[in-house]
C-alpha cells in the first residue's frame, strides 16, 4: 500500500516536531493488512514546499509486508521530480516466481510438417536398438536417446510463435484447398464451398 497520505508526523519526518491524530488509524489499518511502514534507503522529503516560509514534507509513505525482500529498500529520487513538487518513489517488491514467456512451439494440423514430424519420429524409433539393453546403465542411455529423438523431431519440425490476441489461426488447410479449386475450375459451387470454409 503506498501513495500520498497527506499526514505529517514525527514518526517518519524527524524535522517535524508534532504527531498526527491520524497516525494511529493508519498504523492500525496497515497492521490489519499485514503491512508495516517501510523506511526509504535514502530518507528525505517527499514533497518540496512551494514557498520559502514552509519546510519540506514527508507525506508519501510506503507500507510493505516486513518479510518481503523489498521492505526498507525503496528509494526517493528528488532529481527526477521535474516541475512537480512531489518526489518520485522507486519500489521493488518480491513476488512469487512468474513465467512471462509468451512464446510457444507449434505445428500445423494435417499438413506436410506434421507428416514429416511423425515420419522422423517413427524412423528414429524403429532404428533404436533395444536388443542391447542388458544393464541398467545401457537402459538409461537408451531412454535418454529416445527422449532426444522426440526433442529433436519436435524442434526441427515446429515453429516458435508469439502469443498475441491474433494468435488463433482461422485459415485452415481446407480453406487453401477450396480456394485453389475455385481458382482452377471457377465453378459457382466451388466459390460457395470456399465461402463456407472461411
Amino acid at each position: 500500500m503506498l501513495g500520498d497520505f497527506n499526514i505529517r508526523d514525527n514518526n517518519w519526518d524527524p524535522n517535524y516536531p508534532h504527531y498526527s491524530i491520524h497516525t494511529e488509524d493508519l498504523f492500525t489499518l496497515a497492521k490489519s493488512l499485514g503491512l508495516d511502514l517501510s523506511p526509504p534507503l535514502n530518507p528525505g522529503p517527499t514533497r518540496f514546499a512551494d514557498n520559502l516560509h514552509d519546510t519540506n514534507f514527508v507525506i508519501d509513505l510506503v507500507f510493505i509486508n516486513p518479510n518481503n525482500p523489498g521492505f526498507g529498500q525503496h528509494t526517493l529520487h528528488p532529481k527526477l521530480r521535474r516541475p512537480s513538487d512531489y518526489v518520485p518513489l522507486f519500489i521493488e517488491v518480491g513476488i512469487n516466481e512468474t513465467n512471462l514467456d509468451n512464446t510457444f512451439w507449434s505445428i500445423g494440423k494435417d499438413n506436410k510438417e506434421e507428416e514429416n514430424f511423425i515420419k522422423a519420429l517413427t524412423n528414429n524409433i524403429l532404428a533404436l536398438d533395444t536388443m542391447i539393453i542388458m544393464f541398467k546403465e545401457i537402459l538409461e542411455i537408451t531412454v535418454q536417446h529416445l527422449a532426444n529423438i522426440f526433442s529433436n523431431a519436435w524442434y526441427s519440425h515446429t515453429k516458435k510463435k508469439h502469443i498475441t490476441k491474433h494468435s488463433k489461426e482461422w485459415w485452415t488447410h481446407d480453406c487453401t484447398e477450396s480456394l485453389n479449386r475455385y481458382r482452377t475450375i471457377g465453378a459457382i459451387e466451388h466459390g460457395r464451398e470456399f465461402k463456407s470454409n472461411t
Binding site: F5, L89, I95
Partner: protein
C-alpha cells in the same frame, strides 16, 4: 522470462498532463507499475444532452500504448478518480485487475495480480487534507 520482483514507480503529478506523459514514456522499459496520485483529466468529447446545448463533457486520463490504465469510473465530476494506476503491457500474463468489489472509492485503487499460484494486491492511495481515504479504509 521469469519474474521475481515487481518494480513500482509512484508520484503525485498534481494533474500535470505533460509530466504524466513524460513519466509514462521514460519508464516504459524499466518499470512494471506506475502509481499516480492526482492524475490529470482532460476533455475527450462532448455527448448530446437534453440539459446542455453544448453537450455533456466527457473527461478522461491519458492512455499510452505501452501501458494499461486502471482507473475508477464515475459519471459525477466531483467524484473523478484521484488515483490512477498504469501497468506495463508486458505483464499482461499476470492478469492485473481493478477490484472495486473490495473498495470502491475515488481516492483508492486496489489492483490484484497473479504471481505463480498466489494473488497479490497493490493499493494506491491519495488521502486528501480531510483524510477521506483513510477514514473510508478504517
Amino acid at each position: 522470462m521469469i519474474k521475481e520482483t515487481l518494480k513500482i514507480f509512484s508520484q503525485n503529478v498534481r494533474k500535470n498532463k505533460t509530466l504524466m506523459n513524460v513519466i509514462l514514456e521514460n519508464n516504459k522499459n524499466t518499470m512494471d507499475v506506475i502509481l499516480v496520485q492526482e492524475p490529470p483529466k482532460s476533455l475527450i468529447c462532448r455527448v448530446p444532452s437534453h440539459t446542455n446545448s453544448l453537450g455533456e463533457p466527457i473527461y478522461g486520463t491519458p492512455n499510452y500504448p505501452d501501458w494499461t490504465l486502471f482507473i475508477r469510473q464515475d459519471p459525477i465530476q466531483e467524484n473523478y478518480a484521484r488515483v490512477a494506476t498504469y501497468v506495463n503491457k508486458k505483464l499482461q500474463k499476470m492478469r492485473f485487475t481493478l477490484r472495486p468489489d473490495i473498495i470502491d472509492h475515488c481516492n483508492i485503487n486496489i489492483l490484484a495480480f497473479h504471481s505463480g499460484q498466489h494473488i497479490n494486491f497493490v493499493i494506491n492511495v491519495y488521502s486528501d487534507n480531510n483524510q477521506n481515504a483513510l477514514q473510508f479504509l478504517n
